[in-house]
Amino acid sequence: MAKEMIAMILAGGQGSRLYALTQKLAKPAVPFGGKYRIIDFPLSNCVNSDIDTVGILTQYQPLVLNEYIGNGQPWDLDRLHGGVHVLPPYQQASGSDWYKGTANAIYQNISFIDRYDPKYVIVLSGDQICKQDYSDFLRFHKEKDAEFSVAVMEVPWSEASRFGLMVTDENDKISEFQEKPKNPKSNLASMGIYIFNWDILKKYLTEDEADPNSENDFGKNVIPNLLRDGRRMYAYHFSGYWKDVGTISSLWQANMEVLDPSHSGINLFDENWKIYSRNSGQPCQRIGNDATIVNSMISEGCRVDGTVNNSILFPGVVVEKGATVEAAVVMGGTVIKAGASVKHCIVAENVMIEEGATVGAMPEGGLNIAEPGDVATVGSGVVVGKGATVGPKAMVSSDVKDGEEQW
């Protein structure tokens, strides 16, 4: 039974700039927004857009991600025909190979895609925070009778040279592609989300693979080749919230934007576009008599007896009496003991912050989401000892002894 469109999510990213957070898990598995992982966004977008067949291309630290995806049930992607499949590189008769680039990752899974005989394939990125209706994108692709479409966002001209840019005519037809140019001719940045006609994609992937000089990358190789051949290429404008959370400060920022009273962040409270995730199954959050909570988001299983201000607590976080949490993103299972101060930072899962310890500090000018400055980071499973200090610029991924200071 043929599918109209299936999705392929590129989830191989190591996320090396998130260092302490991605030691044991791939970037798409990084927690976000109080109970989600980044990959919940493309997966939920797929199912909300009626795409029921999704391949997830992984190769870096796949354990957490594999376990998290499981049979796809939390996203309603446990299907008899289709559903979600995690696709790591595998050994073939002709030898085995890691995914050499984004295009090669899809190339190695041509037979997976062919099983569903789709007319279109949408290529997604597994490390973006974004709510997008891919069925609207497909409608655009069909209306334009395109062979290739790319989702683009308008960015400020001053920042345009940081992006891959699409130069288009008044009908959104792409005439040129500029990768991080010095003199941008356009401010339409590629979001790395593509719809291809499958026959076209397959042809160009095969051609790209045969080229020994290719880096096997969509942006560097495949898209320029399509342009060279004058294919029907269009740019689909997207204007909603979109964030590539590639760095600690952008990840912190995207979390803080969720709390922003002026709603600059992604709306997680949308009944019509739910974001699904694997549930922790913990009981209710327990707020004690001495707790003070201001402008925060708190998840199930938490126990709060201290002060929580402008922060996001993931499931099962404990904030003891006398502890202060401010402008912090605290991931699941972390315990913050009495008298500890946790500010302007990201604390990963299952961290123990002992009594009187200090992690991070508020910047001198106070909270500024747009220009965060330093964001301290504590990696998963770390113990920050009694009275220890983790400075505002620090990123720790191993235990900090009692009284020790790390800057």
């Binding site: 409270f269 739910k274 995730s277 199954g281 913990q282 707020i287 402008n295 988001m297 708190i298 993931f314």
Partner: protein, 374 residues
């Protein structure tokens, strides 16, 4: 064989004691009464069974079971979507609808042919009016090692006000054998109060129920156990953990409030996990100006006002200037700005409009029925 599954199946009665909480079961069964912020009462028994490796469970329903069926689905959340066994919901047969189940014997009789076809050696019978994190593995071990015909579970507790005319207490000899089962005990103070959970050999259950049904007997405890205590070796098993019995509106309110006391959550949830239907709510949002003290909140709430000593289920909203004290707000209750509500229990989807003042007392909380707007 890896002994991950016990040699027992479960039978849960969903409607027992419905008559004690008429307000709460107006549109549901006892088993699907919301409890503890995000659960339904049946979640506790069902999860406890699943956690003990019991993967063949029948839920016998009598009436008002739509909400329960919606909640249980195919049993996936309890890992009971199995090829063999799994979750099995048993409504009354259509041709029997003139004659509703009137007692446990009737209800079991309706599943006799199913019981006969099963392979497990033991049957666990349980009601669903008690929220308890119960170790059924230990109970089965005790039953097997004592060589009893029936093992019945009790705890030391005063007879709840609401259950004065609907309870069983037991007398026990020094060997832990039940010597007497008293119906509708009215003594004050702590008694050996039955929790209406039993372990029994499947073959003998079939035999006893068949025999009783032929003679027109309907009550398992009164008509089968109590009459045969000399013949049957009925052992008592004391449960010493946290149990929340729902026997009337006041106990429903009190038991929700008791969860706020120090140690309660740990006692009820500290053991094996309790599963429930997933709603995919976002985490709870505390907005500028909110004050929350000594409360339990489920996911999906948005708090802008004041919440004290209360239990809020999933998706509740407390708007600016509203004060909620000593309340139980079931899922999706909305309290509009500047309301003042105290000692109130709202059922699902209740809307309290702007500026309203509603006050009950600790002995008589105000109850607002499902989908009502005040």
């Amino acid at each position: 064989m890896v002994n991950s599954n016990v040699n027992a199946l479960g039978v849960i009665f969903a409607n027992t004691y419905d008559n004690l909480v008429p307000e709460l079961v107006a549109e549901r069964s006892m088993a699907s009464i919301p409890f503890g912020g995000r659960y339904r009462l049946i979640d506790f028994t069902l999860s406890s069974m699943a956690n003990a490796g019991i993967d063949n469970v029948s839920v016998i329903v009598r009436k008002n079971y739509h909400s329960l069926m919606d909640h249980l689905g195919a049993g996936r959340e309890w890992d009971l979507t199995r090829k063999h066994g799994g979750l099995n919901i048993v409504p009354p047969f259509a041709e029997r609808s003139v004659k509703m189940y009137s007692g446990r014997v009737d209800a079991i009789e309706s599943i006799l042919s199913w019981l006969e076809a099963q392979k497990e050696r033991y049957v666990i019978l349980s009601d669903s009016y008690i929220a308890v994190n119960f170790d059924f593995g230990k109970l089965i071990d005790a039953h097997v090692s004592s060589g009893a015909d029936v093992t019945m579970v009790y705890n030391r507790a005063p007879i709840p006000e609401g259950a004065r005319s609907d309870n069983y207490t037991i007398r026990i000899d020094e060997d832990g054998r039940v010597t007497e089962i008293l119906s509708n005990d009215y003594r004050l103070g702590e008694q050996n109060l039955s929790m209406n959970m039993y372990v029994i050999d499947r073959e003998s259950l079939i035999h006893l129920v068949h025999d009783a049904a032929v003679r027109g007997l309907v009550y398992f405890e009164r008509d089968i156990l109590a009459r045969n205590l000399k013949l049957l070796n009925v052992k008592a098993y004391e449960f010493k953990g946290y149990a929340a019995r729902i026997s009337d509106m006041k106990s429903y309110f009190d038991e929700n409030m008791r969860l706020l006391e120090p140690g309660s959550m740990e006692a009820l949830f500290g053991g094996a996990p309790i599963y429930t239907k997933i709603r995919d709510d976002n985490p709870t949002r505390y907005l500028e100006g909110s004050t929350v003290k000594n409360s339990l909140l489920a996911d999906g709430c948005v708090i802008e006002g004041t919440v004290e000593n209360s239990v809020l289920f999933r998706g509740c909203q407390v708007k600016k200037g509203a004060v909620v004290k000593n309340c139980v707000l079931m899922q999706d209750t909305v309290v509009e700005p500047d309301c003042d509500v105290e000692y109130v229990v709202t059922d699902k989807n209740v809307h309290i409009t702007e500026g309203k003042k509603l006050t009950g007392t600790d002995t008589f909380p105000v109850f607002i029925a499902k989908n009502h707007s005040v």
